[in-house]
């Protein structure tokens, strides 16, 4: 039964280890084709995951769950992995070495993310989190001839190690005061008796570590540098996979394990959400590099999603899941365009609409969706998050302030997203050579654009999946 529950992880591990061996058995093979092949295989795994049924049972002595929440995130991670492998295949010429290892590391990081989706115990949480984070240190520094990439990797390593230290320290306090690391047992214990102050200290330390993963203020300092310096496929994986993993853990820890003490952590998240919204959106205004801009924007979006979590109602947690789902398509679309264009300054995107209509349209739609323009999916995602905050404000007026700050952030973000839009369609291109777009990238862009528009108009399927997934927490 245990093996059955972890079959998706097992498949990815087999794929990853097999890829590691390709250099030994087929040196000098076509690495681009290998990337396309792996992306296809992961897509098949994604489709296969829809045959799995969620269950209320726990596996591995209560450490691992395969409920609808876990499956929702597993599918999201598989989707992101397939796209990142496709991006890696497009990026092949820019790697100097180790393309097969790059794919393998992406697959192993994805394995860690799939485990994270199912985590039900602090020990497993820490180990899976480290698997993902350590793989990302390597991936970030992958272009080791480039100073920027190395610098980003080092920064990420040092700050990441510090935040991991906080997490373990917090877990030690939690275990020391409750004698358990299991989320279910923790929830039972906490609702039965009060919680000691040392326990709360542990909880805040764990929150620090998870705040680092999702790049929320005040643990966000690394995000712009790492997003800019890392190879673009890795940046995309950070923005879509790593961030979603952080939110999966935040939701699971806070809503499954620590819900009985929500009176303590909700105000903390409220303040963090407001600060994150402000920092991300104000910081993005002056950016000239599009990856750095998306780094700041990812901080801002972490703020929107924290809003939903801070609201602490059923609508809020469901809205976070919906937002993560549509955010994945939007960001993957933007990063696919960045890889196809191959340049990072926003000025280089002048006249993109004429040079390549499909790239121009895709990037424009992605920016509009990030800004939350109807009828795109970003609009509906934000609408739900704000609705959740307003609902929470009926009982606690402080949430009105949060909603106000969120609305201000949306207005500010319009400016810098449309700066990119203006470059694409209004500014004249200095260089008017058309940009070739390969067939797989074209297909990926169509999928993303279809999802952005489709989920904006017909939200039902994703809303239903998100409602089902968030339903396991039993919030009102």
């Amino acid at each position: 039964m245990n093996l059955y529950a972890t079959q998706l992880e097992c498949l990815l591990v087999i794929l990853g280890l097999g890829t590691l061996l390709t250099d030994a058995f087929r040196p000098g093979g076509d690495r681009r084709k290998l990337g396309y092949l792996l992306a296809t295989l992961v897509t098949i795994t994604l489709l296969y995951s829809f045959t799995l049924a969620p269950t209320a049972d726990t596996f591995f002595h209560g450490m691992y769950r395969l409920d609808s929440f876990a499956l929702f995130f597993k599918r999201l991670f598989l989707l992101a992995t397939a796209f990142v492998l496709l991006m890696g295949a497009e990026f092949v010429e820019r790697f100097e070495t180790g393309v097969a290892e790059f794919y393998a590391l992406v697959l192993l990081a994805a394995t860690g993310m799939l485990v994270i989706a199912s985590v039900n115990d602090f020990i497993l949480l820490f180990v899976a989190l480290e698997l993902v984070t350590i793989t990302f240190y390597i991936l970030t520094a992958f272009l080791r001839r480039q100073v920027q990439s190395l610098e980003a990797g080092t920064k990420y390593l040092i700050l990441g190690a510090l935040s991991s230290g906080f997490t373990v320290y917090g877990i030690a306090y939690i275990f020391g005061t409750t004698g358990t690391t299991n989320f279910d047992k923790l929830a039972t214990l906490l609702s039965a008796g009060g919680s000691g102050s040392a326990f709360l200290l542990g909880m805040l330390l764990v929150l620090t570590g998870l705040g680092f993963k999702v790049a929320s203020v005040p643990f966000q300092i690394w995000a712009p540098d790492v997003y800019q310096g890392a190879p673009t496929p890795v940046t995309a994986f950070l923005a879509v996979g790593s961030k979603a993993a952080g939110f999966a853990l935040l939701l699971r820890v806070m809503l499954a394990g620590l819900l009985p003490v929500s009176a303590v952590w909700m105000p903390v998240l409220l303040v963090l959400a407001a600060a994150t919204l402000g920092y991300g959106n104000l910081g993005a205004i002056s950016q000239r590099n599009i990856k750095r801009l998306l780094g700041y924007s990812s901080i801002g979006h972490a703020g929107y999603m924290l809003m939903g979590l801070a609201a602490g109602n059923a609508l809020g947690s469901q809205a976070v899941l919906f937002y993560l789902g549509q955010y994945a398509f939007t960001n993957l679309c933007a990063f696919l365009v960045i890889i196809a264009v191959g340049r990072e300054e926003i000025a280089d995107y002048a006249g993109l609409g004429k040079r390549s209509p499909i790239l121009g349209a895709a990037l424009f739609l992605a920016m509009a969706s990030l800004a939350g323009i109807p009828p795109l999916s970003g609009f509906f995602g934000k609408f739900q998050l704000f609705a959740a905050v307003i609902e929470a404000a009926q009982t606690n007026w402080h949430y009105y302030i949060l909603a106000g700050i969120g609305a201000g952030a949306v207005v500010v973000s319009l400016y810098y997203y449309f700066n990119v839009g203006r470059a694409i369609y209004i500014e004249e291109a200095k260089d008017t050579t058309p940009i070739p777009v390969s067939l797989p990238v074209r297909a990926g862009l169509y999928v993303c654009m279809l999802a952005m528009i489709g989920l904006g108009i017909y939200q039902q399927p994703l809303v239903e999946a998100a409602t089902l997934a968030a339903g396991i927490f039993g919030l009102k």
């Binding site: 180790g98 192993l108 180990v127 000691g196 709360l200």
Partner: protein, 166 residues
């Protein structure tokens, strides 16, 4: 204060001092030696908890194997003592403010009565069996994930440090 408490305070304070030496020393070899001492004192803490097996492993693996590797690397790379640097006062000041705020916060939190919700019932003293059985039964999945983690780290080191980029 009985012997147990005295020893606890001795080991803890000595550990903290050694930790400070590790980062305050400019000579990397001296730093590594301070780290060895710190591991030894930590082993002492485990002995006080009657976790004799973990204490022994602490000495063998950390103070022994891991530290020898550290020293090898330091000596192979021939790292010189780092130069005396001028303090960035803003950085030092900011660091003190943040650390002070954290200590102050902890003091407030820990000054409230600490009520263990449920005391830990793991008896570490019974020996090897109580360490190994949970590791390979209860905690099997994290154990396997750790194996992947080590593989990833190994691949990463080879990739990032190999000399020729083909």
């Amino acid at each position: 204060m009985n012997v147990h408490d005295t020893l606890f305070w001795f080991f803890s304070i000595a550990m903290l001092l050694c930790g400070v030496f590790v980062i305050a020393n400019r000579n990397p070899v001296a730093s590594a030696m301070a780290l060895v001492l710190m591991f030894l004192f930590m082993a002492g803490l485990f002995v006080l908890l009657e976790a004799f097996f973990i204490a022994a492993i602490q000495v063998l693996v950390y103070a022994g194997a891991v530290m020898v590797l550290f020293l090898f690397v330091i000596m192979l790379l021939d790292i010189k003592a780092s130069e005396r640097r001028r303090f960035a006062f803003l950085g030092v000041f900011g660091g003190i403010v943040v650390a002070g705020a954290f200590v102050w916060e902890m003091r407030i939190i820990l000054s409230q009565p600490v009520i263990p919700l449920q005391s830990g019932n793991t008896d570490l003293s019974a020996g090897l069996e109580n360490v190994v059985k949970p590791l390979f039964q209860h905690y099997m999945l994290p154990f396997e994930v750790t194996a992947l983690l080590l593989l990833v780290a190994m691949v990463g080191v080879v990739l990032l440090s190999k000399k020729d980029l083909k």
